[in-house]
Amino acid sequence: MSAGGPGGGPGSPATPTGPRVLLVEDDDSTRTSIASNLEAHGYRVREAGTAAAAVRAWDTQRPDLVVLDLGLPDADGTTVIRRVRRDGTTPILILSARDDEPDKVAALELGADDYVTKPFGLEELRARVAALLRRAAGPAADTTGSIVLGPLVLDVTRRAVLVGATPVDLTPREYELLKVLMSQPGRLVTRGTLLRAVWGRQYVEEDHYLHVYVSRLRRKLAAADPTGTVRDLITAEPGIGYRIREP
């Protein structure tokens, strides 16, 4: 099924104005079931089975989001990421096999926004797609004013953090960590990126305390929040990185 084709299930016809998704996946049956499911949920899906087809589709259609399998028959999926990033900030969701940890990290550091690991549930995939589109649609993170995520407020000018009305006492590095995560909500930020941003380039390869800092930060935020909404805001992807969800 291609863009503009008939919708999946009866009673949910494709919305001709829905977000345009470029789905790059070489396995036919996987691609077909993802495409029909996304279409059933109102997305306009353009399918590509190779990197070359993906780049052609990107050039002609400029979709709102790219779902990209890294293992393509003709070229590494990262060539597609590079191409898309050359032209803009369109969200990229990676589909990856389980044992590809270094590949996932490489793709994320090249500019991909998130990943789902095969085998995944379609529900999970749709949730990630929706979150990425929501973020892309929202205003760009304003690093001169305040970043607001539900009850969580990071005041960049005053270097202050509030949960509701309660100020949270953070160390400089905890503050920087939170700022990096909050300036790209929903996006999975790799450990390498966080270390570079908060501690500096020389710490990227070292045995580091990132996890300890993030845990401490989570606890401080949770302690300032009696409602429990911000408790699970920061999530860890073991071995990959961290993200802050939109509440």
């Binding site: 270097r159 996890h211 073991p238």
Partner: protein, 526 residues
């Protein structure tokens, strides 16, 4: 040597005995004492020479006419010839006796040395461990300056034991002990060695280098090398025997070790086959059960004859979904197991906060398995652990899935505390039926399943806990199982605490600026 003085001494004594006042008619037997003495000390040849000398001396000095070899009285001839005959016979007998005694002593020493060598070889944990002892033993039993033992590794000769230190001499010319089968005595033969001189040690023309080849069958396994001053000459018979017998013993030991290694390799291969069979059995069973559920559900959905209610259709899809999840866990564990066994696991260790690590996994697994909440308790002041976040995640997920499978709906508890030695213990325990005491030590073995009644098709693959152990050990930790006070099984994971973070907080750390990875002692300006 005192023995040389025995003949003159005897001569003097005879002169005294035959002269006034004793005037003994014939004191010539005193010479026999001297001959025996010479025989004992110098052997047969010297004894005969001494007997002849005694005969001539007595004739010349004591038989008239004196100071000539002539004999006036014919009776004296008989005396003289008897002296000569008895001297030679006694001399030879005495010399023979002495040689035998000497030989016996030497043989005793030699067999003691050989016994020590073979006992060392049989009692040492490995041949390699025995060789230095043997080299020292040989050095003590021979008059060599230094002895070393080399082993043939393909084309190279590797020194495996050396009684001395420093560079070893490597002359172009050395003496080789050639041994031929049968009764042929071993011979030392000079040999030019076409090898390069090792290192920068100058050849020492004053020393001789001796080689005794260690072989078994036609295969050269190594050599015993010895060196000593060239002035000492070739090794004597006993040294030669000792060196060649020691070479035989060591050769046998090398051979035996090789056979044991071959046998071990065969045994490992056999066990590998058995494991493969167990794997196939486990995998085919473990995979067929969820696959059967999936096909049944999918087949039902595809059947045009059956009208499904929405709820039924969802139920069938849920079955497919959860069984596929189960297959996914099986595949994950099998892949982990093969990575562990291939040594391909490269944990990336970092400092991890235990609470931040454990809580999300517990929440995820309980949600996925629809289990009652798990109790979590952490002791205060728990240090960060040094582990791989991914691997730890899998370890904990495996343990929780295990508890959910064997102790469904029972209380499950995860606790973390600091051990006396500073390491961190993370315990996963349940109030389920538990594991019999006898099964505890084997719990982490691959494909081991606790024998249970009525487990049927829901049994596991028997590798989950094996994977747990492999992953924990890859992170430098330990894992053990015991009976939980809750009534079920308790699994303890012990991991190292993370090292102290580098660099102390400077206190004046510029806010937000990249700096030392210090404890966050600094406060953010509010």
């Amino acid at each position: 040597m005192a023995a040389v003085a025995l003949l003159p001494l005897a001569t003097v004594l005879i002169a005294l005995a035959e002269g006034p006042p004793l005037r003994i008619a014939d004191a010539s037997p005193l010479y026999l004492v001297a001959v025996v003495g010479v025989a004992v000390v110098f052997g047969t040849g010297a004894a005969i020479a001494a007997a002849v000398a005694a005969f001539l001396l007595y004739d010349a000095l004591f038989v008239a006419p004196r100071f000539t070899l002539l004999v006036d009285n014919p009776e004296e001839w008989l005396n003289l010839l008897l002296l000569l005959f008895v001297g030679i016979v006694i001399g030879r007998l005495a010399a023979l006796q002495a040689e035998r005694a000497d030989d016996a002593t030497r043989r005793a020493g030699e067999s003691r040395a050989l016994f020590r060598i073979s006992r060392t070889l049989t009692t040492a944990a490995s041949v390699a461990e025995a060789l230095p002892v043997i080299v020292d033993d040989l050095l003590a039993e021979t008059r060599m300056d230094r002895i070393w033992l080399s082993r043939q590794e393909g084309a190279r000769e590797m020194v495996v034991a050396d009684s001395g230190g420093g560079p070893r001499p490597s002359h172009r010319i050395h003496v080789v002990l050639t041994r031929t089968p049968g009764d042929q005595p071993a011979r030392w033969v000079q040999e030019h060695r076409p090898m390069e001189r090792a290192g920068n040690d100058p050849p020492d023309p004053g020393s001789g280098l001796f080689r005794t080849t260690i072989s078994a069958g036609n295969e050269v396994l190594g050599a015993i090398w010895a060196t000593r001053s060239r002035a000492e000459g070739l090794p004597d018979r006993e040294e030669t025997r000792l060196l060649s017998l020691a070479a035989d013993q060591v050769g046998l030991a090398f051979r035996r070790e090789h056979l044991i290694e071959t046998a071990n390799a065969a045994e490992i291969a056999r066990q590998g086959e058995a494991l493969k069979d167990a794997l196939l059995d486990s995998v085919s069973h473990g995979f067929r059960t969820p696959l059967a559920s999936i096909r049944a559900a999918a087949g039902g959905l595809l059947d045009p004859e059956v009208t499904w209610s929405d709820e039924e259709r969802r139920e069938a899809a849920r079955t497919i979904d959860s069984e596929a999840d189960r297959l996914n866990v099986l595949v994950r564990n099998l892949l982990d197991m093969s990575r562990i066994e291939a040594g391909e696991l490269r944990p990336s260790l970092e400092a991890l906060d235990v609470e931040g690590l454990v809580t999300p996994v517990v929440e995820r697994v309980t949600r996925a398995l629809q289990q009652p909440p798990v109790q979590i308790a952490f002791s205060a002041d728990l240090p960060p652990i040094r582990a791989d976040a991914n691997l730890f995640d899998e370890v904990l997920a495996n343990l929780l899935e295990n508890a959910a499978r064997y102790a469904p709906d029972a209380v499950t508890r995860v606790t973390a505390s600091t051990c006396a030695d500073g390491r961190v213990q993370i315990r996963v325990e349940d109030a389920g039926p538990g594991v019999p005491e006898a099964s505890l030590p084997r719990l982490f073995d691959k494909f081991y399943r606790v024998p249970r009644e009525g487990e049927g098709a829901r049994r596991g693959l028997g590798i989950g806990l094996g994977v747990v152990r492999g992953l924990v050990e890859a992170m430098g930790g330990e894992v053990s199982a015991s009976a939980s006070p809750l009534g079920g099984l308790a699994v303890d994971i012990i991991l190292d605490p993370a090292p102290e973070p580098p660099g102390e907080p400077t206190g004046a750390g510029e806010p937000g600026e990249p700096g030392e990875l210090g404890e966050p002692g600094e406060k953010a300006p509010a």
